[in-house]
Amino acid sequence: MFLNIEVNNQIIKADKGETILSALNRNGMNVPTLCFLKELNPTGACRMCVVEVEGYENLITACSQPIEGFMKIQTHSKRVLNARKTNLELLLANHPDECLYCIRNGSCELQNLAQSFNINERKFKNKKFTLKVDKSSAAIVKETDKCILCGRCIRICDEVQDVSALCFIKKGSSTTVGTTLNKPLSHSNCILCGQCIMVCPTAGLHEKSHTPQVLEAMGNPKKHTVIFHSSSVSVSIAEEFGFKAGKDVSISLNSTLKKLGFNKVFEVGVASDIYLIELAEDIINRTQNKGPLPLFSSCCPAWIQFAEQYFPGILTSISQIKSPQQIMGALIKSKYADDLNLNNKDIFTISVMPCIAKKQEAIKGNTSISSFSDVDCVLTTRELASLIKIKGFKLDDTETQLSDAPFVNQSSASKLLGTSGGLTESLIRILHHKVTGKDINEIKQSKLRISKGIKEISVMLGETTYNFAVVNGIGNARKLINDIMSGKKTYHFVEVMACKEGCVNGGGQPLLSEKDALKSRIKAIYDSDEKESIKFPYKNPSISEFYQAFTKSGNKNILITNYKERTVLK
């Protein structure tokens, strides 16, 4: 039901029951927010969003106050502005003046607010900074002093991911955000999805940078540097260079990276194609040999970590096929190294991913069957953008270049792995071909392209109906797995991605992105599936040679990984 409210002497329409903030935003009006997170329960913790409402003695937090009847609101009165400014100054009282040396310099919500409130002197100084930094995790750095206690990380980790690795510790002025018993992150139940980083307004939580190692390798003439990037990166990195969201720059990125000085530039798609083909085979084998079913996807390392911690009983149901990142690294350090007569110790592989858990996957991979590390470094989308700037370049969208030989081509299906549902859609294309010998007519699975936490689809292939489930957001995954374990649901295959909507929304993606950026990125991925000519992984000419080699040696070991139960405080 709509009703009228008055804001700054202007009548606007509001939905009964919605918050003041939501009504304001829908009408193109803004108030600053810090602790507020769309789709999560408001806590009213930061009080940046306060407004003056006639009839109320105190200022009201717009993010949490529902509209029940007519209201007369002032969003920028003198009283409101003063209150917000004082709030901000009090927040800053506990914040070190470290902007110049801070990873979020230029992309910090606190800095932006300080700027917009014209704050140019320190009013209060409360505490001594401890400069305590938790670097224990393979992918996440926690800087206690930069935390403003907005609680966004705690809420996303609890309400969306249902991991709840983080909590408020103690109270009053000693409050901090940390893990159970204040253990280092590496000893906690964190699965490294990085969603907390995405919502952190400051540098309280950020990724562990691999940029120094990459610069080091690039400057070492003995190192043959090979970089490869994923489709989720190429549809989002342009945002870091001021382009509108949804611009796919895969081929321009190739040419930019070549200019930066990498010896070889690839797209990870060729490895994704191999991954998809192997996974399809795994499904068929398990279906014919009676299990264990369902088969779970293995491409998301945060999901793997989650299973290792919470569902050790299903580890044998997760495909042992390495993720595309690890396959790519393995291919480069074996087949490619042999072809070029390079010692794999001299090759330095850099993977560019939308994901921070991939940093840990690269390290975990070191202990796998092979004697070398498949992937030496993982850069996030953000880190690659900054590396390009460090090297004095920008993203030039006028120049284009294909991936280097021998990995020139990838199917458009391989690119769909960036979205939730895309992996399954691509698998169906391959399964159809494997079972019927023919290309599928309708390549698009619209049921899988909608934005939803859990999606299901059944497809008749030959005599068998295959049932698929697609889940994104690890909280949803927990629900689905419980249903599967209790026998409520049965599937042949389950695709799991820890991040909501999939890797395009990963923990390494651009921060503070424009409204609807995510939708535009997803659209860009589906558009390229529409436009590109190779739509089926099995038609990718770049992989046929590898398959010949594999079949000859009969050795697919480099494509295999394994999983171990992990005990943590959960």
Partner: protein
Amino acid sequence: MDNLIELILLKYPKNATENIIEILLQIQEAEGFISAQSIIMLSEHVGVQSSKIYSVASFYDQFVFEARAKFIIRVCSGTSCYISGSDTIISFLEKEFNIRIGEITRDHVFQIETKSCLGACAQSPVLEINGVFYSNLTPQRIRQIIHQCKSSLQ
């Protein structure tokens, strides 16, 4: 000690969150502190993630998360006491219990800490055990005190 916690938990319904603080108090009473193991068991019992249990517990100052000894010996390390030989007292205690400052004996009976000026400089060197002051210390006297502590346990 897991049994102790189990016994406590058995008294409370499963998946009910309203008793968390009461249970924590009982665990601390029984064990002297809230261990990682007890947090895990409590968290499974009431069906709440461990971080939320810890968050609640850390809110209250009375909960401690490390083993505490029966007797916490705080040796004054203020200037007066230092001059009158607090460091010999500390090394005496360290030898006696075979632990270092801040540590706790294996049987959880003794723990040594230091504290700056306890406010009894005239009678230095001094130490405090669970709130009781002992002054004008000498090794013999300390031996006596330790003996007293031990026999009070029997």
